[in-house]
Amino acid sequence: MSRIGVAFEKARAEGRAVLVGCMPAGFPTVEGSIAAMTAMVEAGVDVIEVEIPYSDPVMDGPVIQKASDIALAGGVRTADTLRVIEAVAATGAPVVTMTYWNPIERYGVDAFARDLDAAGGTGLITPDLIPEEADEWLAASDAYGLDRTFLVAPSSTDARLAMTVEHCRGFVYATAIMGVTGARAQTSDAAPVLVSRVRQVTDLPVGVGLGVGTGAQAGTVGGYADGVIVGSALIRRVLDAPDLQTGLAGLRTLGAELAEGVRNPVR
């Protein structure tokens, strides 16, 4: 059993999808990000995805870019992210880490795997690392028993889909749309097709991200996927708030709405 698999088993038993909520470490501050993620857990978010802020996030839309810029301007270090992971994992919610590859390579792949394991992290989602370039990470994640989530996209060929999921452990991340992160008015038609293509080649749970921002959308995506991944819409609650307390209240409201959404799947 993978580390994050427990969360998917539990949700499956309840006949619903896992709700994954994403937030950059250090946004708006290191302590503020711990408070935000804790609030998300309390509101019913099942799994917390901690994003390591990066200077050149090519897969991210304006909301996550801005939050990452704020975190970096505040001086957040990779070591701080590990501290955030440890604090959030202590709430009992599984914590998965989403990171562009360069910060990990710079930290040292094996060293990061070791410290992530020690912090209680479940593994990594790697948006700009494809399995062909991942030898070091494959070895390190095996050595420390960490999960590894590579992305699949609507444009992935059948052969690549099979190859990519073969290298995944924990869950597969299906990018619902061809595009960057950010909440959108409508969820994608391509996502259900992609999820069913993934199911043909693996029994691993499939999470769908990119574009989900409301309880209704969470219900729609939860109708066909095992995990509903929400980032920008949650982050915006903090970004647009006049102060952290208001932001946390907004997070609780949206977190509860999304948690309700995955409990009312549209099938």
Partner: protein
């Protein structure tokens, strides 16, 4: 190897795009299909006689190549070296970049795509892309850092004149790297009908190899021109290196000539010991940026450090992976040239030869000046140096005017 045949430089990169430990693909999965399609289009195009003939005809009839190899005698006298300038500044659009865009525009059409996007720093690549897009009737969107749109306003106007949409990028440091990020984001969202026309020999595979193949004519021509004009190969070849396309373009034909030294001059800004430079090889470290493993300016946590150069075209915190490999293998030498050294060379070329060079290319002139006495000492005679004059300086007149304090009504 005979001296009159262009060198075979081997089969780098490997099929996955690696130059030794550099290169590869560090990209979102959503882009892999497009990169595979491009790899295949590039591979078949390079062996397709009709593609090659069409490319050659465009380069000759439209871009005005082969560019001249000009013996710069007054500059030579100043430097104590026989300097031959490869006059890429005389190409249509004023720089070597036209070669790359014409090749990639042909590939775009071959793939059935109708829209091109590009990033630009100085604006030269943006202008070249807008030019090719006009010629090939392609929709064109150019991403340009907001800071660069201000210091290169004339090129913004040129692009718009040619029908391109210029999008000022306001994220991050608002320079070339951020323009690349934004172009990547556009590409992920519109990959079906859009080709990302990268302007330098960097980025994920196949871009470094593809761009090199389209600009390698610079070196192929220069090598033959040397043999024809002076009956010998040069002692050294010098070029400036930002992302590195003009340098790779001129180096490539000479890589297999062991007696020809290859020098790449990076933007040393205010000095590589300061935090204000753009010298990724001499002042950076191994990392991953914009889809490839290469030398990068980064902090202890792997965050990209903002680069600085007086030259917008060199103001980039990474470098093409083949240069990283040429550096590691020792085949080419990379040295920094400061803003001040580059501007002194800019003025020197203006005054000795009546040629206003791009500030990018001025780094190569300054570098040649620096290595000339060392080469002379080593060889025991006057060295012959081919310098890639990669672009003309019209776009830089405002920057230079400010630098030299010659703007205003009275002098």
């Amino acid at each position: 190897m005979s001296a009159d045949a262009p060198a075979d430089t081997g089969s780098r990169p490997d099929p996955a795009g690696h130059f030794g430990r550099f290169g590869g693909r560090f990209v979102p999965e959503a882009l892999v299909a497009a990169l595979d399609e491009l790899t295949e289009a590039h591979r078949t195009a390079m062996t397709d006689e009709s593609f090659r003939a069409e490319f050659a005809a465009l380069l000759r009839d439209y871009a005005g190549t082969p560019s001249l190899l000009y013996p710069a005698e007054r500059l030579s006298a100043k430097l104590g070296a026989r300097v031959l300038l490869k006059r890429e500044d005389l190409n249509h659009t004023g720089a070597h970049k036209v070669r790359n865009v014409l090749g990639q525009a042909l590939l775009t059409r071959r793939m059935g795509k109708t829209r091109v996007i590009a990033e630009t720093g100085a604006g030269q690549h943006g202008v070249a892309t807008a030019t090719a897009a006009a010629l090939f009737d392609l929709e064109c969107v150019v991403y340009m850092g907001e800071v660069d749109t201000e210091r290169q306003a004339l090129n913004v106007a040129r692009m718009r004149m040619l029908g391109a949409t210029v999008v000022p990028v306001t994220t991050g440091s608002r320079t070339l790297k951020d323009a690349m990020n934004e172009a990547m984001r556009d590409w992920v969202a519109n990959v079906d009908g859009t080709h990302y026309l990268i302007g330098t020999a960097a980025g994920p595979h196949p871009f470094p190899a593809l761009v090199r193949d389209f600009v390698r004519g610079i070196g192929d021509e220069a090598r033959q021109q040397c043999l024809d004009q002076i009956g010998a190969l040069p002692d050294a070849v010098a070029a400036c290196v930002g992302g590195g396309s003009n340098a790779l373009g001129i180096f490539h034909a000479f890589v297999g000539d062991p007696d020809v030294r290859l020098y790449g001059f990076e933007a040393g800004g205010e000095g590589v010991t300061t935090d204000r430079h753009a010298a990724s090889i001499t002042g950076g470290s191994l990392g991953v940026l914009h889809g490839a493993r290469t030398y990068v300016l980064q902090d202890a946590d792997g965050q990209t450090i903002e680069s600085h150069s007086i030259s917008a075209g060199l103001d980039y915190p990474g470098v093409g992976p083949e240069h990283a490999w040429l550096h590691d293998s020792g085949r080419a030498s990379y040295l920094p040239v400061t803003d001040d050294e580059a501007m002194a060379a800019f003025e020197l070329l203006c005054r000795t030869e009546g040629i206003i060079p791009a500030i990018e290319s001025s780094h190569a002139i300054a570098g040649a000046a620096a290595i000339a006495p060392k080469l002379a000492a080593e060889l025991g005679r006057e060295p012959t140096i081919v310098v890639n004059l990669s672009g003309r300086g019209d776009k830089d007149v405002h920057t230079a005017g400010e630098y030299f304090g010659i703007l205003g009504k009275e002098q």
